[in-house]
């Protein structure tokens, strides 16, 4: 059975049909791309998958659980994590705390344990620190663990956001334009990191990206959206040669 099944998904904001009849199947351990011109509905699709928006039609089944229109909290607990197009970190907190927040639902102790500093507090905090540092090391951020998240350079902030998402122990990771604003070297490095994450954690990754080299380079299957509808699907080569896709990007009839 597929990890994620999206059937006939659609959402309308009043009279505006932002996404309609979107179908998608995501298998464990694979890399998927979602592309399309600006305003095609890519981020809207992400927002429905993560519970930020409630779809007005269709179903989303994650690993046998219907997560259609559930709260972001519920969906996160069931294994979908995401990053954002405009980076959303906890800027007032340290890099380490950002990742530890991702571990929030993995390692628990009660409010009272925290206030009275019980043995449980010390052991769980130590475990959290250990786990978080392990993740930070993967992303080469362990040196900056005590810095404020806002003080990191742009590229590292992007990485930290991925590290935080991974800390929630997801089955599916959604990356919204991870290479946006990066130079070619940084993009190359990010490509390696994304592949590494897929191999190391064995999770499925779905990403939105405008950098075609990036998408064609790592995605095994690409879905193309235009005006909220899926116009093509296939490998990079198939999609590139699809006349509908060319028309959507370059104009034509």
């Amino acid at each position: 059975m597929a990890l994620l099944e999206v059937r006939n998904l659609g959402i309308a904001f009043g009279g505006l049909q932002a996404v309609s009849q979107l179908d998608m199947t995501i298998e464990k351990g694979h890399l998927y791309g979602l592309i399309g011109p600006n305003g095609a509905g890519k981020t809207t699709a992400f927002n429905m998958l993560t519970g930020m928006y409630a779809p007005t039609e269709g179903n989303i089944i994650l690993d046998g659980v219907d997560i259609t229109g559930k709260s972001p909290e519920f969906i996160s607990k069931h294994g979908v994590a995401r990053t954002f197009q405009n980076i959303r970190l906890f800027n007032g907190l340290s890099v380490l705390d950002n990742v530890k927040l991702g571990l929030h639902n993995q390692m628990k102790y009660a409010m009272w344990d925290g206030i009275f500093r019980t043995p449980k507090y010390w052991s769980k905090e130590a475990e959290m620190n250990h786990q978080a540092m392990k993740l930070l090391k993967i992303f080469d951020l362990d040196e900056e663990a005590d810095l404020l998240a806002s003080s990191l350079p742009y590229g590292k902030q992007r990485k930290l956001e991925i590290a935080r998402a991974l800390a929630t122990n997801p089955k599916l990771l959604l990356l919204d334009e991870p290479a946006a604003g990066m130079n070619p070297q940084e993009t190359d490095e990010l490509m390696k990191t994304v592949r590494f994450v897929r191999d190391e954690f064995g999770i499925a990754i779905l990403l939105i990206e405008h950098d075609m080299n990036f998408v064609m380079g790592i995605c095994e299957e690409i879905t193309v959206l235009d005006h909220g509808q899926c116009i093509a699907r296939g490998t990079g080569k198939e999609v590139r040669n699809n006349p509908k896709v060319v028309a959507a990007y370059l104009g034509g009839d």
């Binding site: 993560t50 972001p72 906890f90 927040l101 929030h104 409010m111 206030i115």
Partner: protein, 366 residues
């Protein structure tokens, strides 16, 4: 060389722990200094009368900082919780201070004040925490006023048949001749046996610091701060927003309730009018001036700004004018880059004169 050893350990300690230790130390040193002044007879009456209110406002400021500074929601009804705590705790004290052992009754009064304020914090929190920003501020302001107005209109008495309550006047409670009026509407509770002392106040301040500082620096505290920094991101990683908003709001209400008990047991009469909009704003001023999310700032701002109006009594006519100018001056200079740089230079100078300097640096590197 014992001293050196202590300093080197100090440098190696976790930064968060050091911050906390300094906060506790500030309170304890201030307490001992005041006790010393009192013992040598150097304490002015005008100052000694302010000691319990200072403790009260420190608790109020630190607890409000949990909601405003760490959760990031503007609450303008903090005095309402103080009022609920003050009236419930004082009522218990008035009824039981004769019959129960004094320390037991006092502790119970504090607990009841805290619990009652906490319960109302929960009830009010249900609708209020669905709102954000300005709307939340407006609704908390309204709740503060509602609490004040309702308590201002309550008449409560007790006689051989039990409790009587009325919202009209003392007569309409229909009590027997042996009855006593407990809450007399706008006149409030009178004839309270004073019980608050500076020592009790400092103990309450320390308890408040312990609860708030440890809470903020734990799993729950991180979640609370994450909501402030980025609510959408917090949701996306599975933080239950409502639960942690409620946790911060209720904890803050409980502490404000206890502060209310501390405050009211310092006087022989208790009126609802004291806990109005102005008091809420006053506490908010402490928090904003001390710095959002800065607990030490709250302690210092609450202390200075409570003492200040008393010290300005000699220029009575211009008191509020001077107070306002000082507020503006503090706002400008407290957080200005130059002032911050100057403080850093001073801190560096003090450090360089400390005997454990070398060890300190080694500790940091190691």
């Amino acid at each position: 060389m014992k001293k050196l050893k202590v300093f080197s350990r100090w440098g190696k300690l976790d930064k968060g722990f050091r911050e906390k230790a300094v906060n506790y130390a500030i309170v304890l040193v201030a307490y001992l200094a005041i006790q010393l002044l009192a013992a040598t007879g150097n304490l002015k009456n005008s100052v000694s009368g302010q000691l319990v209110p200072i403790c009260t406002y420190v608790i109020m400021a630190v607890s409000l900082n949990l909601v405003v500074g760490f959760l990031g929601e503007l609450s303008l009804g903090h005095a309402g919780f103080m009022s609920l705590g003050a009236f419930s705790g004082t009522l218990f004290w008035v009824l039981n201070c004769e019959t129960m052992p004094k320390p037991v009754a006092l502790v119970a009064a504090f607990l009841i004040g805290g619990v009652v304020a906490g319960i109302f914090g929960f009830i009010i929190g249900i609708p209020v925490l669905r709102l954000r920003g300005d709307y939340l501020a407006i609704v908390t302001l309204a709740f503060g006023e509602i609490i004040k107005t309702v308590i201002n209109a309550i008449y409560l008495g007790v006689d051989s048949n039990g409790f009587h309550i009325s919202l009209k006047d003392a007569m309409s409670m229909g009590m027997e001749a042996d009855g006593t009026v407990l809450i007399n509407g706008a006149i409030g509770i009178t004839g309270v046996t004073k019980a608050s002392t500076f020592t009790i106040g400092v103990v309450m301040v320390l308890i408040t610091l312990f609860v708030v500082m440890n809470l903020v620096d734990s799993r729950a505290g991180r979640a609370i701060k994450s909501i402030r920094d980025n609510r959408i991101a917090a949701e996306s990683i599975g933080i239950p927003i409502t639960k942690y908003k409620m946790m911060a709001f209720i904890t803050s209400a409980v502490l404000a309730g206890m502060a209310g008990v501390l405050y009211s047991l310092n006087y022989s009469t208790l009126v609802a009018k004291k806990f109005d909009y102005n008091t809420s704003i006053l506490v908010l001023v402490f928090v904003v001036l001390g710095g959002m999310g800065n607990i030490r700032g709250s302690i210092i701002a609450a202390t200075i700004l409570t003492v200040l109006p008393e010290l300005l009594r000699s220029v009575a006519d211009y008191r509020m004018l001077v107070y306002a100018i000082l507020l503006i001056a503090m706002m400008i200079f407290n957080q200005s880059p130059k002032a911050i740089a100057w403080r850093a230079v001073v801190a560096e100078k003090i450090k360089s004169r400390m005997p454990g300097k070398k060890n300190l640096k080694q500790g940091k590197e190691g």
